[in-house]
Assembly symmetry: C2
Homo-oligomer: 289 residues x 2
């Protein structure tokens, strides 16, 4: 496994700066975000990473497929728009040669990420999960035809209301099974799954379905904005080494992305962040138990 910089970790950097940072720090891969790619330009981003000799370990992110659970015309329109946006994301991943397109599937219909509950949202969690499966039946073949692998990301249950009704690795894996493994895989992100009593069984069961291994720590207590509770490896509660060993034993041979959402990390000098990340990767993520 090799280390990859998910560019949200050095959020202040543009794509060009992040590509340069990877080269200067000797990292062979980068995880890109669609917003940043759009700012840099898709074709230019593709050229930048190609010229730098970097792998694109993932493109973040597709998903937000559950608004179709709203009633009537509003639901139908939201579902169609989400599918269109995801097809564009697949096209971008294809052009970038990304190893996978990370899918954050969305929360309860009508609930927007990080915002208070609006009137008219839906509490139908089972229905929202069915919408995700339905969308996947459209998007998986589309991705397959373009050589793109969708990577279903289970998010920590604290994000179930507003970001992802996929809450466990086992659930994501079950959703992926109807499709060829090169079309639909799963993400193992330590922050989201460290607590799961079935984690090690489900990592083994996932095997080559693991499309991405992302690492960052789980801070405690969480900050007021729970989205920013992700910390540098070693700063939180996660015992990384057993998870890393399990992911390796399952047959994963892709890159290891460090993706940190954290106000202090974002405020720091990105070069220092990358240097710390490299050191902690060796000391903490790869540590012998």
């Amino acid at each position: 496994m090799s280390l990859s910089l998910n560019q949200w970790t050095t959020r202040r950097w543009s794509v060009a700066e992040a590509v340069d940072g990877c080269v200067r720090h000797g990292l062979p891969a980068i995880g890109l975000w669609r917003e940043k790619v759009a700012e840099q330009g898709l074709a230019e981003t593709a050229k930048l990473v190609r010229d730098a000799g970097l792998r694109v370990s993932s493109l973040c992110r597709g998903g937000f497929l559950t608004a179709g659970g709203l009633p009537g015309e509003e639901g139908r329109r939201a579902f169609a728009e989400a599918l269109d946006d995801n097809r564009r994301a697949v096209d971008e991943a294809a052009e970038l040669g990304a190893a996978c397109l990370v899918m954050v599937v969305g929360g309860l219909p009508g609930v927007r990420p990080g915002e208070a509950l609006p009137s008219g949202f839906s509490r139908d969690l089972a229905g929202a999960r069915e919408r995700v499966a339905e969308a996947l039946s459209v998007l998986a073949p589309y991705a397959g035809e373009r050589g793109v692998r969708l990577a279903l990301e289970p998010l920590h249950p604290v994000y179930c209301p507003d970001r992802a009704v996929l809450s466990t690795l086992g659930q994501a894996l079950d959703l992926s099974l109807p499709y060829p493994e090169e079309q639909v895989g799963v993400v193992v992100d330590t922050f989201h799954v460290w607590w799961d009593p079935r984690l090690f069984d489900d990592i083994a069961r996932a095997g080559r379905r693991i499309a991405s291994y992302q690492v960052c720590d789980y801070l405690h207590p969480l900050p007021e904005d729970v989205l920013l509770g992700r910390g540098m490896m070693g700063d939180g509660v996660i015992d990384f080494a057993p998870i890393t060993r399990a992911v390796l034993a399952a047959g994963y041979d892709g890159d290891v992305e460090v993706e940190i959402f954290n106000a202090d990390v974002w405020a720091a000098d990105p070069d220092e962040v990358v240097a710390t990340m490299r050191r902690r990767y060796t000391e903490v993520v790869l540590a012998e138990g």
Copy 2:
């Protein structure tokens, strides 16, 4: 099923006031807390509930069994102290005739509820879970001899670092299976389990192992102190009716406790809280799908 007031919902009330409140509002049962019982006196509490004709639907709480995961003498002493305290809790539950003793098993060894990570805490989650199983092998027979049922409560994964390494109903159920169902059961608390993709399968699997059904809503966004993210039924994201039907279908015929940790609820007039709780119970918890 009948409605029960978990007395932490009306936290300002003493045991005597809460018993009186249940009688005035026509509730047939109460969930007691050890701290409140100690303030009132154990024998006096037993007499108060008996004279009022109330059932004690639960005693909260035993648990916090994981500190034994700390190394050396400190760990051994912490484990012995936890066992002693839990034996006392069993004795109290027996004297009160409580339907069960709710067990919140504790978080990572050395991490104290609601506090920042201390130096020297343990990241060994698997080991902490083994300590819980080990403690149960001592406490279950002790409880069984006294006619007390331990009720293992899975807590939302957001509480895994500091309050409970039991994170899913399935995990709690698996831990209970070595013991007779009258010795060890499980708690279904909507706040903690609503997101779980295996919830309905595990409720059915639990069957008569369900020792307590607790309801309150899951607020979104959570407040800064995530402990206080529990809301009055209808104020959050949970679709209660399918869960209630599943718990009934599993064979549960005990009381339904409303247990709310919420700064606004605690600041309100307890009589109004109980009135609202009764109304929402009918409108939301028992609602036809």
